[in-house]
Symmetry: C2
Subunit: 363 residues, 2 copies
């Protein structure tokens, strides 16, 4: 028995470190990816507030709100901890109109960052921010309208210029991919509020302890606030933060005009800002972002955002910070959309993230 | 090499069949549950419709809906396939005001049916139905209101009679459990529609092939419709179906009055109804359901629902069906709420489900 157990333990150890990919239990599984060994998985709500309606609850009149409570504005997270997990988990936070789905299966059916980083032995926490998805109980009323807007997103997310795809874009061109891509969207169930969503994700870090925050697009801005609110945020990996860069009072740059909107920095006290100088931060932008102003709103908006990101990097670093902005084409990685982590080359993108985490001793 | 691979394969096989629980890689993991071996996991949208706004899309006016499309009314599912999975997956479908979260971690932090049945080697598909959670894009506008209603749910879900818990109720009494319980709710982002949600889940079965449908409360009714729409539904396990029992034309029983509402059967053509006679179905109800009419709406509503379920069972079985109604206290299982699958005794409840699946040769 002892000998058998030792053999099992050795095999489990290999299994848990991902070395057994080629061992293959049977022929049917020969072409499948190796199994994931998950030590623990589950979900929970974090943060949020509660209101109590005036009056006294009468159980004979259950539809009368008198005296009843309402819990809302929490974040929701589904987490998985692989066997032999690394020290710091990755907390993955979606962008506008998205949910935890962002990090799961890609629109064309490949593995997303959830699985890729589980295979690299990181625990993953996939967030639905307050007022979104499975965290839909909002403290503020909202109306959800079915407004046709998908050509806007096709362009804004830099898949192409509808109905054409960009040359060499890292996005599959079959109709089902586009169908899955559009159906990954899910609406706000209350007004988007930087403070509410960063409070929710900060509460999540309060519960789980130290971790690495991964943001995308709209969560970039509240991601900076989360790191200010909670020292458990030990690093930030930010994909194409869209707006709401946080500057110290008196150092906010002038607004930047682009063909889509006007970009404006957010002012915070220097004491808060300094939190952002104490952690390593990397920001990635993809391809098809113009150098010079152009009339096409979708692309021009990213010209301004990339420029603002560079100003922000310089400001944080001037105060002793460690921010890197990676414009992927500049390091030879081409064709990425607004979703590099689910693009066709997302393994290559994950390798970039892994390299950053190694360099900063975060793995 | 050959010998080493054979040892690994043997160990993996043991691992995959859950025999290695006590092998323990190291001391730290000694008290944890055994790891889950997941062959494959991911998510996708199924079904839904598309509209195209009249006009021509102008990329210079991206906020104008002219010529733009909108995809909505799909279901969303997160799936996990364990190593050495059984033949039929379990498709788990939440009730009113709930989401996929229903089947994940319980409010008091234990494993829900997702993990329990992965450990029993069933693939699991956790659904967010159309117009809910991460499947929030609805074809119909809706307003989401933060209406205080949680004492209604506390009573209606038979945890107790607010603020008191039922004697012996299978529900933890600490405040954080109640906090997690209330925060598991998430609203509709469009009007609830039996046909829309059953179309979505039927499309899911169209994609995944044969499986076992597990419904809860509000999904009970559209669950019957899903089995009518899709022969890939090979069995139904229904927890406390709330209303919308489906009867053949001319055999709908008279409406049932209770202190909360009036229950009414749904009429379908006999040819459709007969689909429900061709698959095994089991229905579970928990405790604290009165035998006789009472004035308390929350409990009395379940008296009527259980009575209607028995009428329905008799109707389906009269036409050659195989429906079993299990009122849990009648088999000595006491204290269950409206959520038996996440109650304190949910392993015991899972054992009942496993027994049913074995008896019907579905595992």
């Amino acid at each position: 028995m002892r000998s058998k157990n030792r053999t099992l333990s050795a095999a489990l150890l290999l299994f848990s470190t991902g070395i057994v990919a080629s061992a293959g239990v049977n022929a049917q599984q020969a072409n499948r990816p190796e199994p994931l060994a998950i030590q623990e998985q589950g979900s929970f709500a974090a943060g949020g507030t509660v209101t109590t309606n005036p009056g006294t609850f009468n159980p004979l009149k259950p539809l009368d709100p008198a005296g009843q409570t309402y819990h809302g504005d929490h974040a929701y997270a589904f987490y998985q901890v692989p066997v032999n997990a690394r020290r710091l988990p990755l907390v993955m936070w979606h962008g506008a109109g998205q949910s935890a789905k962002t990090w799961e299966t890609t629109p064309d059916g490949r593995e997303g960052f959830q699985n890729i980083f589980l295979r690299r032995r990181f625990a993953t926490y996939l967030v639905d921010q307050p007022r979104r998805g499975d965290a839909g109980r909002s403290m503020v009323e909202a109306t959800v309208k079915p407004t046709p807007d998908e050509q806007l997103w096709f362009n804004q997310f830099r898949v192409g210029l509808w109905p054409n795809y960009f040359d060499g874009v890292q996005f599959a061109r079959d109709p089902e991919t586009l169908n899955q891509y559009f159906r990954a969207m899910t609406p706000n169930t209350g007004p988007f509020d930087m403070n509410v969503v960063s409070d929710g994700v900060s509460a999540l870090f309060g519960r789980i302890g130290p971790g690495i925050l991964v943001t995308h697009s709209q969560s970039g801005g509240p991601g900076w606030l989360t790191a200010i609110k909670n020292p458990n945020v030990k690093a930030i990996v930010s994909f194409e933060p869209g707006s709401s860069f946080v500057f110290p009072e008196g150092e906010v740059p002038p607004p930047m005009q682009d063909a889509f909107d006007t970009l404006q920095g957010v002012s915070v006290p220097m004491s808060e800002f300094m939190a952002l100088t104490r952690i390593p931060i990397v920001i990635y932008y993809g391809d098809n972002i113009p150098d010079q102003p152009m009339t096409m709103p979708a692309q021009d908006s990213w010209r301004a955002r990339l420029a603002m990101a560079r100003l922000w990097r310089d400001t944080v670093n001037r105060h002793g910070g460690d921010v890197t902005v990676v414009h992927l084409p500049e390091i030879g990685i081409r064709g990425n959309t607004h979703f590099p982590f689910s693009d066709l080359n997302n393994i290559q993108i994950a390798d970039q993230v892994s390299k950053f985490l190694t360099e900063k001793k975060l793995d």
